[in-house]
Structure formats: structure tokens, C-alpha cells
Amino acid sequence: MPQTADPVGVLSGNHFIDGDHAACEGAIAAGARFSSGYPITPSTEIVERFAQRAPMIGGTFIQMEDELAASITLQGAVWAGVKAFTVTSGPGFSLMMEHIGYAAMTETPCVFFDVQRGGPSTGLPTLAAQADMMQVRWGSHGDYDIIALCPNSPQECFDLAIKAFNYSEQYRVPVFVMMDEVVGHMTEKVVIPPADQIEVEPRHFTTKSKAEFLLFKPDENGVPEMAKAGDGYNIHVTGLTHDERGYPDMTPPTQDKLVKRLLSKIRNNAEKIWLYEEDRIEGADVVVVSYGITSRVAQRAIEMARAEGIAVGKFRLITAWPFPDKPLRKIAENIKAFVVPELNLGQMVREVERCAGGKAKTIHVPHAGGSVHRPEEILAAIREAVR
């Protein structure tokens, strides 16, 4: 039952803006009216823009004292009934991990933008990397599952921001937009459609009576309905292992039931969550699997390889998590090799290799970060793949 965007927030028209700014507009178009932020390069512009826009669209921005606060303040706002987000990069992302786990455990719908930069630690604050891809999936302790999307252009920063908010409401889960410094800081044309052409998923507030409603009881799709403070439900939300009422119940059977459901609500719906771009997979000998800014370089390498007569297909990850294993397993059966370039020393390639299952080779094109690949590096790997 999606709705369309509130026109108050939507700057319909053609824009020439960078990825960070586009992400902010996407959040606003999706209905986000609260952000608690903390500055960290190269994500800061997203909240700087929100700070400027918020008072004119009925939104609220607060700069908190650190990322620990930023990542939980937005969750308080969600439980007061609004759509909320925060932004960060590597070091801040690490600080946010506990609260990411809290959002997953309490099934708080919210969005985090990670504009990735060189790491580890302070690393390269102003230069790109894609080295938080495993962290976004596994960074907090315990078993939980999340959704992560990778834009490769400012236009996609806008589009996927909206998608992220929609997924978060559909699955009552924190969703991550994994940008990188280049996509965040590159300026390109961004078309913002009229508000009535933007599909927005409203929060699934319950209409049940207080006696009937259970804040953590799943519906047929495995996802519970939402509520907010002030509606008279006397809800209880805790990070402790809890039963369907939300009351702490720290026993193995409840743990088993709860944690398995947190995983299955994503895994059972994975096919609806997968977004990817395929090109000329049919008849390909080698398929390049890439995401984010690297996919732009890979595009060039693919064209160069095709010019040399190599049958190379493209598989661009837009949803990184849940990882689209099913389509990749199918592709693995018919090709010689995957080529996986990424701005890290081996993260998503592990997933590709797992899906290849030994049926196709996996050739990794790593990069420690700080700049993007040269197309020639990826082309060399493609050539090696078909040798």
C-alpha cells in the first residue's frame, strides 16, 4: 500500500548536484523529517543540507555530541513516529555499531548513510574506499540481518535513498546506503520527479486495539506492525531478548525464535529486496561483478574487453545485502570466471566466491583505497579470466 511523496519536501526538476546532496533530497522525498548527525568527512554535506532544508519542510535536525548519540537519537525520533536517518563514514560507522544492533533487535525502521572512505582508523578522510561492506553486514555483535544498497551515481543516491526508507518500513529493519567518497562528491545531473510519481512506503502503524496488539508479533510476512509513543499502547521496547509483547524473556527458546525471525524476515523476502543490473550475461564467458564507483570504471573495462572480442557480461550489485546469491549461483554454472573489482582488499568477492561454488573461477581485483581502479587493471583481470 505505498503512497506518494509529500510535495512539501520534493524539489522536482533537474539538478546538478553531488551525491551527498542528492542523498539528502532522496531522504526528504522519502518523508524523512528528522536527522541527528555528527560531522565526518565525506558524509557531512548530507546533514549540512538537511540542516538547511529541515526548518522549511517541518523537519528537525540536531547535531549531536558524537556518533554514539547520533545513532540512537534518531531511533528515539522513530519511536515518536517520524522517519529518521543519520550519516557517517568509517570511524563513525564503527562507533554506531552498538546502536545498529539495537535497531536490528528492536526492529526500528531507520536509514544510515555510510559514505565510505579509506581506512582502517582515521585512514584517508577525503578519499574513497569500499572497505565497510562486510562491516555493514556483520559489524554489530550477535545474529541479525540488514539491507544495504550501493548507489553508483548522484541520481542513484537520490533513488536508492528513497528505496532504503521504503525497505526499512516494509521490513522494520535498519537499511544502509553504502556510498563512497567519489559518488558522494561527484556532481552530475539528478532528476527529481514530481512528488506524485515518487512511491513512498508509509510506516505500518497498527490499527489493532490495545488488547490485541503485540509490538513484536509478526504478520504473515514475518514483520510486526509498528506503533509509536503517545498512542496509548504502553509499548515496551528493549534490546534484551524479548517475547512478542516486547518484555524481556532471556531464555533459549525465546532467543531461538526471535533471532531466527530477525534473519528470516530478510532472507525469506530476499528476492523482493534484490536489485541488480545485468547486461549480456547470456553467452558470457566472464562476468564482472561490481558495485558503487568501481562499477563505473568496470563499465569502461567491460567495453574495452568487448571491443577485443571477449564475451563479458556485467552484474552490478545494487543490493549488496542480502547478497543476491541465487542469481549468481545460476550464472556460475555457465561461465568460466567472475571478475570482482572493489576498493578493498577482499570483501564482496568472498560472497561471489561462495556463490561460484567452485563452478567458476573468481578473480579478485583489489585496491587498498584512496583512488579508483584504472580500467586497464580490470581489463587485465578480464583477459586473465578467459585465458
Binding site: 534518531l74 528515539g76 515518536a80 503517545g230 534490546g239
Partner: protein
């Protein structure tokens, strides 16, 4: 005899009765503070539907789970920023933060001072048992010197925070301290705090019989309560610099700070109205909360 002649315990409607009895130890004072809290809510005629309670981790943090209100048991030290998010997104909510000394002042210290600095309209009830009780009795930033704890087996030697002093300096508009012996005064103080807009803070000294008392051979909860009765001095308006605590020493209680300062949302509204005029669109939930007469902020 007819049972409808017997009124129910005033605290009962505020409890998630199906979760009783609670986990707090015999002689622990947290439950006592909850009695005062409920009396204060009843007297204040607070709209309970729009009351949210947020707590952190620790023994006092369990209060949220036992109260029959919109209650949030958050992460260690972060009740205050979560509460800030609730309040800013829906200013109609009355938000109470109910947590312990370790949660609010050690891991949560940074958030506390910033919320006080901003004067966000939150009501903080800090149950101070001078120890990290839930995890087995480790040193807290409020543990006085020469006290045996599980991480100070030879006794503590570092200085303790003076909570009212710290919170006043950070910017709170209402600061008081009571003990779990002062049940009537505590309830009244909570009631006063609920009626006052801005960042309010009440420290409540409470016994921890199982860890603090027992390890230091100070008897049980009742001995601590008698100690509070004997050693407390009610000094309203006492300078907070003078209310620090020492082991088995004098306990100064009372209302120390009650002042006027512009509240965060009022300042925000005033500022944006001034800067943006007609272009300023308040969040829809903000209008009823922010006062019409907004005091000049003293930045």
C-alpha cells in the same frame, strides 16, 4: 467484608503487574523511588498517554520494563540521547529518563552534560547507589573513597563526582538530591520537576545491600536507610559545590537549583522564526508545545 471499600495501591496501575515480583534485591531502594514517581505523576495530573519513560542499562534501568507506560529500555549510557530524539520528534510527549549513576555519569556522562547544556525538556531521575550493581558491584564514578568494590578490592582511591554540582554546571534548570528515606520530599520534588520546563535532574541515594553494603560491612538496606535518616541534612538552596559525598559522611539533601533558562525547543522555534519568518515550517507536533512567549536566549 466488601472488597470495594479497599482502594487499590496507587502504584498498581503504573506497574506491568504480570512481571511482578521484580528482580531488585531485598532492601534495594529502586522500588521505593518508583512509589514516589507514581505519586508524583498522580499529583501532577500528567497525561499518562503522552508520558514516555526511557532508561539505560543497570538495575535502575529495569524501571522502564516494570512501568505500564510507553517505555524504552535502551543501550548503556544512551537513554538521554534516545529521549532527546523522542522529545524533539514529538514535543507533546513528556519524557522521563530513569537510570542509574553509572549509566548516566560514566558511559553516559557526555550525553548528560550536552542535554543539560541544551536545556532539552527532559526529566532525569538518577538513582545513585554509588556502585555498578547489575554487573556485580564495580566502582562507579560516584563511589566514594575507601570503598571496597569488585574492581577495587583494596578500596577506591580516586575522587567521586559530585552529581548536583556537575549537572548544575552543565546547565540544568532544576537540581535536587534526596534519599530513598525522604519519600514524601522526593515525591514532591519529582512533582515540582515535572511542572518545570527544561532539563531537570533529581539524584536519589539508594541502598545497594547485596554489593555496596555487604562488601563494606555496612549491614543491609534497612541499615542504609537508617544511615540516611541519621546523616541527612536538608539544606534547600545549598551551593552544589558543597554537597559532595564521602563514605559514611553527611548527606546534604534538598532542592539546590531552580532557575529559569530558555528551553531547547523554544530557542529553536524562536530562532528559526526570526531567521526565516514565513518560510519557517514547524514540525506539526511542535505547535502546541512551544510557548508563545519565548524568552530571549542568552547565547
Amino acid at each position: 467484608m466488601s472488597t470495594d471499600l479497599i482502594p487499590i495501591n496507587p502504584v498498581e496501575p503504573f506497574l506491568r503487574s504480570e512481571r511482578m515480583p521484580h528482580i531488585w534485591c531485598p532492601g534495594c531502594g529502586i522500588g521505593t523511588t518508583v512509589n514516589c514517581f507514581t505519586r508524583a505523576l498522580i499529583e501532577s495530573k500528567v497525561d499518562l498517554k503522552n508520558l514516555a519513560i526511557v532508561s539505560g542499562i543497570g538495575c535502575t534501568g529495569r524501571v522502564a520494563g516494570y512501568t505500564n507506560l510507553d517505555s524504552f529500555h535502551t543501550t548503556h549510557g544512551r537513554a538521554i540521547p534516545f529521549a532527546t530524539g523522542l522529545k524533539l520528534a514529538n514535543p507533546k510527549l513528556n519524557v522521563v529518563v530513569y537510570s542509574g549513576d553509572g549509566d548516566l555519569f560514566a558511559i553516559g556522562g557526555n550525553h548528560l552534560i550536552h542535554a543539560a547544556r541544551r536545556n532539552v525538556d527532559l526529566k532525569v531521575i538518577c538513582v545513585n547507589n554509588l556502585i555498578y550493581a547489575m554487573t556485580g558491584g564495580q566502582t562507579a564514578p560516584t563511589t566514594p573513597g575507601n570503598v571496597i568494590t569488585s574492581t577495587a578490592p583494596y578500596g577506591t582511591y580516586d575522587p567521586a563526582f559530585n552529581l548536583p554540582y556537575l549537572v548544575e554546571a552543565a546547565g540544568a534548570v532544576y537540581v535536587a538530591r534526596w534519599t530513598t528515606f525522604h519519600v514524601r520530599q522526593l515525591a514532591k520534588s519529582m512533582q515540582e520537576m515535572f511542572a518545570k520546563k527544561g532539563f531537570g535532574f533529581i539524584e536519589v541515594l539508594s541502598p545497594c545491600p547485596t554489593l555496596y553494603q555487604r562488601r563494606n560491612k555496612m549491614g543491609d538496606g534497612l541499615d542504609a536507610m537508617k544511615d540516611y535518616k541519621r546523616n541527612s541534612k536538608i539544606r534547600p538552596g545549598c551551593p552544589t559545590s558543597e554537597v559532595g559525598l564521602v563514605k559514611e559522611g553527611e548527606i546534604i539533601v534538598g532542592k539546590f537549583v531552580d532557575r529559569e533558562k530558555p528551553e531547547y525547543l523554544d530557542m529553536m522555534k524562536a530562532h528559526f522564526s526570526q531567521q526565516l519568518g514565513e518560510r519557517y515550517i514547524q514540525p506539526s507536533s511542535c505547535e502546541e508545545f512551544c510557548s508563545e512567549e519565548v524568552p530571549q536566549c542568552s547565547l
